[in-house]
Amino acid sequence: VRLWWEIAKRSYARHSTYRVAVLAGLFTNLFFGFVRAYVLLEVHRHNPDAAGLSPREAVTFVFATQALIAAVGIFGTFELAERVRSGMVAVDLYRPVDVQAYEAAAEAGRAAFQLVARAVPLLLVGAAAFGVTLAPLHLLPALLVSLALAVVVGFAINFLLNLSAFWLLDHAGVGAVGIMTATLLSGLAIPLGYFPAPLDTVTRALPWAAMLQLPVELMVGTHRGAADVALVLARQAAWAVALLALGRYVLRRATRKVLVQGG
């Protein structure tokens, strides 16, 4: 555990080095936050309680999704896929370290940094510009657990996308489809509650909802009762475990293939 902690810490430090990049990302998140907020506000002018949200909750939803994009890794990273392509992955597999756990630890450090650097300022600007509504403070521990699970689910999905490189070598196609699928089905493009029934329920049941939609619902305060909150966390946890297990299985298959390829 000590090892993973150290890896996560170094990953945090690595990502905090690029200050200008963080500011540039923040600016882009803000820009999209404003545009999306105005679109939803216009929808709510005609249909005040669309998606069961008040206008203010809708704006909070938009800024919260923008605040978390980077932390949960909607746009993914394809470093592992690049190493598969270049063959460097052989070195990763050769080390006496579990590849999935190593990547997860590095991702945890990255996510923690993005949460601190992006989530807080984005929510503050959203609050200053439009006013936001947040869940009551006693739900904060549940929210933190939910965010951690969202990061794990995001990591697990991204890990699977990266592993596809073992078979396809080029990750561009899978990456593009993966990112756009996540954009739509995580509630980033538009909160899933706006989908006409039964698509709202269907999309909420898919794994991508665990990356943004579910934690943001908690953040906005859609779920108040203990049972309700527990159900959300259980859903996220189930996806996290299932996708991590799938990742392990696929990694084992992939590793066998590398050995074959290496002759």
Binding site: Y18, R19, V20, A21, L23, A24, G25, F27, T28, L30, F31, F32, F34, V35, Y38, V39, L41, E42, V43, H46, N47, A50, A51, D170, A172, G173, V174, A176, V177, M180, T181, T183, L184, A189, I190, Y194, F195, P196
Partner: protein
């Protein structure tokens, strides 16, 4: 003009070489072409979802917003396909390959944009070429010569304006090499913003995209004119006539920023 023709000729040759290279793996190329269409598809679905909740956005019906979206798409996606590869500039500056481009007697902008060109992105242009006529038919336009001219202006000026935005925001890398994501706000963010009726935005944001980053002129003004709709923010009816001038000014400005950047460029050194 001779220089421009020379530049375009080189661009054509470099792009042709890239095309042959990318077609070496036809199956992979076909997959990537299909993957390029997922983004626009997601945008269209999101638009449908918006209109599942409201009959109109600021007085624009679904068919009218789809027309705005598909014309923005046609111009933006084509600009992305043709010059979008300038976004690789920060990487080239970091790894030093930009130096090599400066040694060749060809404009560096031509080399950067042609060398990284991804032909799969033209599938989006093809998609937009299907969407635009359908949207025009559904949007019920009362055609006049002036309105037809506005459509042509939107096509040419939209392409030029978005291309200028790509070049300008990428050229920022000459001064700030890590600020790549900053450009995304204006390129992808600008196209997203411009594919909604501008009437929905607060006055400050509308002024910003009218006077500072004049995306409003690219597609919104011509389409509003085409549909006989009032402009957001009460601009005079004739403002649409400025579209070609604004686009030309943006292209010249982008060229100046690029040249200024190249002059400022000092290589990575070691």
């Amino acid at each position: 003009v001779g220089e421009l023709r020379y530049g375009l000729g080189i661009w054509w040759r470099l792009a042709g070489a890239r095309a042959r290279a990318q077609l070496q793996y036809p199956a992979s190329f076909a997959l990537l072409c299909a993957a390029s269409l997922v983004g626009p598809a997601v945008d269209l679905v999101a638009l449908r979802v918006v209109f599942a909740n409201t009959p109109a956005l600021a007085g624009w019906t679904s068919a009218e917003v789809v027309l705005l979206f598909s014309l923005t798409g046609l111009t933006f996606w084509t600009a992305d396909a043709v010059v979008g590869a300038v976004e690789t500039l920060p990487q080239r500056i970091k790894d030093g390959t930009f130096d090599a481009l400066l040694l060749r007697p060809v404009p560096s902008l031509v080399q950067v944009s042609a060398d990284g060109i991804a032909f799969r992105r033209f599938t989006r242009t093809a998609l937009a070429l299907v969407l635009v006529p359908v949207a025009l038919a559904r949007a019920d336009v009362a055609w006049t010569p002036a309105r037809a001219a506005a459509l042509v202006a939107a096509l040419v000026a939209g392409f030029a304006l978005f291309a200028a935005v790509f070049v300008t925001t990428s050229a920022v890398a000459f001064w700030l090499v890590d600020a790549r994501e900053f450009g995304n706000a204006f390129t992808y963010g600008g196209a997203y913003l411009g594919s909604q009726p501008l009437d929905i935005y607060a006055a400050w944001l509308r002024r910003f995209v009218t006077y500072l980053l004049p995306i409003a002129f690219a597609v919104y003004l011509p389409v509003a004119y085409l549909l006989g709709k009032p402009y957001a923010g009460g601009l005079p009816r004739g403002a649409v006539a400025l579209t070609p001038l604004v686009a030309l000014a943006c292209v010249l400005a982008a060229g100046a920023v690029w040249r200024g950047g190249v002059r400022h460029y000092q290589s990575t050194g070691s």
